[in-house]
Amino acid sequence: MRWPAFLNLKTIGLLLSGGIAGAVFILVLIEFDHVTSTEEFCTSCHSMTIVAEPYRQSSHYNPTSGVRASCGDCHVSRGVISATWDHVLGTKDLFAQLFGADYDNPVVNLVHLPDAAFHARDWFKKNQSDTCQRCHVLEAIKGTRADTMKVHQEEAEGKSCIDCHINLVHRKVPGKQVFKRDAWNRMVEEEFGLEEGMAEKIRLGQAEPPKL
C-alpha cells in the first residue's frame, strides 16, 4: 500500500494544526456561549438588573431542589450552533441598550417590558419550550399536589410548557391577546406617580422619563 502523493509531511502538518485550531475555536465558542449566558454577564447591563429582580425572587432562582436556572439556561438555545446564533441575534439587544431608549431607567424599562415579554414568549413557542427541557422532563414531573403528575401526563399532549406556564419568573405581563396598553400605562403611572398620559409619551420617546 502507498500513501497518496499529496499526503506529504507538510499537508499532514497543516491538517493537524487546522484540526486543532478548529477544536480550539469550538471550545472557545462553547466557553463564549457559556460566559455570555451567565447571570453575571447579562446583568452587567443595568437594564437587565431590573428584570433580574423578580427572577431572584422566583422559584427558578430558589427552587427547593437547589438547581438554579441562569439567564441562558432558559433564553439561549441548546447546541453550540444554535446558542451562538442566538448570541449573534442578541447583539441587537446590545445595540438597543447602547443606542436605543434609556432602558436603564425603570420607567422606560417598564413601559417596554410587555413587548419584551411577548417577544420572549413567541420565541419559547417557536422552539416548543426546548430550553425548559434542559431541566424539566415531562415524564418525570410529579409535583407537590396529587394531580400535578396526572395533568402533565394526560393533558399536555400537543402542548409545550409555555402554552400553560407564563409569568413564572419575571414581572407579570398579561397574555398578548388580552393585553391593554392603556391599563398597563395607568399602572406604570400609578407606580411612579406620573401624570396621566406620561407613560405613553415616554414609551414613544416624546417625553423625558423622570430621573430615578
Binding site: K150, K172, Q177, A183, N185
Partner: protein
Amino acid sequence: MKTYAGLVLLFFIFVQPLFAAKVKVDSSEFGVEGGNACVDCHFKTSAGLAEQWKKSKHGQLGMNCLDCHQAKTEDSDAIEHEGFTIATIVSPKDCGRCHVTEYQQNSSSVHANAVSLISKRLPAMAQNLGGKAIVAAGCDQCHGSVVKVKGDGTLDTTTWPNSGIGRVNPDGSKGSCSSCHGRHEFSKAQARDPSSCMRCHSGPDSPDRAIFEASKHGMAFAANKDNMNLDADSWVAGKDYTSGPTCVTCHMGAAGKLPPNHDVGLRNAWNLNTVVSERQQLVIFEDGDKMDLPESQEAPDPGTETTKIDGSLGTVKMVVPSERRRKAMSVVCLECHGKNFVSSFMEQFDSVVKLYNAKFGKPAQAIMEALYDKGLLTPTPFDEAIEFTYWELWHDEGTRARHGAAMASPNHTWWEGMYLVARNFYSKFLPQVKEIAGKEAEALIQKHVKSDTENHGWLDQPNKLSPILGYGNSKPGGE
C-alpha cells in the same frame, strides 16, 4: 276607590310572573365548544369545585366552565388561560345572560347597592377605627369591593377575592350572585336556607341570625327542615311548603299570589338601621333602578329627575308608598296567619319602632347634634368616648331591638335590644353628656329628654320605691 287604585299599583309592581322565572334558553346556546377541555384538567387540579359543578343543575344540563367564564379579549379582566380567553369573575351580568329576571331585579336592590349605601359611613370605620386590611377582609366581604384589575392583568388583592353582595365588578355590574348561591353547585336549597344569609346577617349591625333562630319562625324551620322542600323547582309558601318560613320566604319568596323577587328590600316598610327609623317609600326610576326614600321627604313627581343612591341622576317612573310595601309583606304572612293576627302583629312591631324613635333615637340624635353645634365635640367621628356610646346605642342595640320586633324574637326586642338601649342611654350616654356639657347639660337633657314626661317622667320621681332592686320591700307601698 283608593284601595282599588292601590291594588292595581300593587299588581304592577309586585305581581309579575307568579313562579320563579324559568330560564328559557335553548340548549344550543350553551355547552360552548372547548369548555369540556377545562373539565378534564380541573377534575385533577381542583376536584372539589369540578365535582360541585358536575352535581349542579348547570353540570347536569351540559353547561360547562366556558359558558360562564368566557370573556372577550377586550374585557378589562380577560386573561389568557390554557389557550382560552376567560375571566375569573363571573359577574351578575354574566349570570344575567340566562337568568334575565333575577339579574334585573337584583341589580336595583339594596343588596346590589351595598357599596354605595355605606360610602358615607365607611371612611370613619375603615380609616379611623380599622384600616385597609379590615376593609378588604371585613367590610368588603359582605358589602362588596370595587374590584380593581391591575395593569398587569391581575386582580388587586385588596379587592379580590370577594363575594360581597354589592360588589362592583370589572364589567360595571353590581352584585355577586355567588354571595348567596355558593359556587360551583349553585344549589337552590342552599340559597333558601337561612345559613346563606347569615354569613353577613349576623353580628351587631344586622343581628338577624340570632333573632331568626330565637323566633317561632326559626324554631319551626329548625324542627321541620326536612319538610321544607328546599330543593323543589316551585317553592311557593303555603303551597310547596307550610312548615315555616326562612329569610327568603318573607323577603324574596313566592307566597300565594305574590311572586318571588330578587330585590330583597322591596317588602320592607321601615328602615331599621338608622339613628331614627323612618317609613320608606320606594322610588322606581325609568331605567328600572330603585331607591328608598324616607317618607318625611316629599316624593318626587313621575317624570322629574332625582339623585340616585350612587349619586347619578335618574328620571322617576313612580313612587310606591311604604304602606304598599307593608301590604306585600303581609301577603306572605297571610299564607299561615289570619288577617287580624297579621295586622295586629304589625302594630306591635310598629309600636316598638315608634317607641325607640321617640324615647331614645330622637333625643340622643338631638343631644349629639347640640354637642357638635356647641363645639363641645369635635366633628371627627370616634375620637370621643360618647361617640362610641351613641353609635352602639342606635347601630348595635337599637338595631337589635327593632329587628327583634320585626322578626318576633321577644328576647332580642327587650333584653338584647331595648333593655341595652335603655341601660346605655340612662347609665352611660346621659352621664357622658353631663360630663361633656357641664352646666349646659341640664338644659339639654330637660329640653330633649325630661320634657317627654310620658317616656322619661320617671326620672323626676326619685323617691319611688324600688322593689326590683330589693330596696323598700318592707316600707309602705313596697311589696
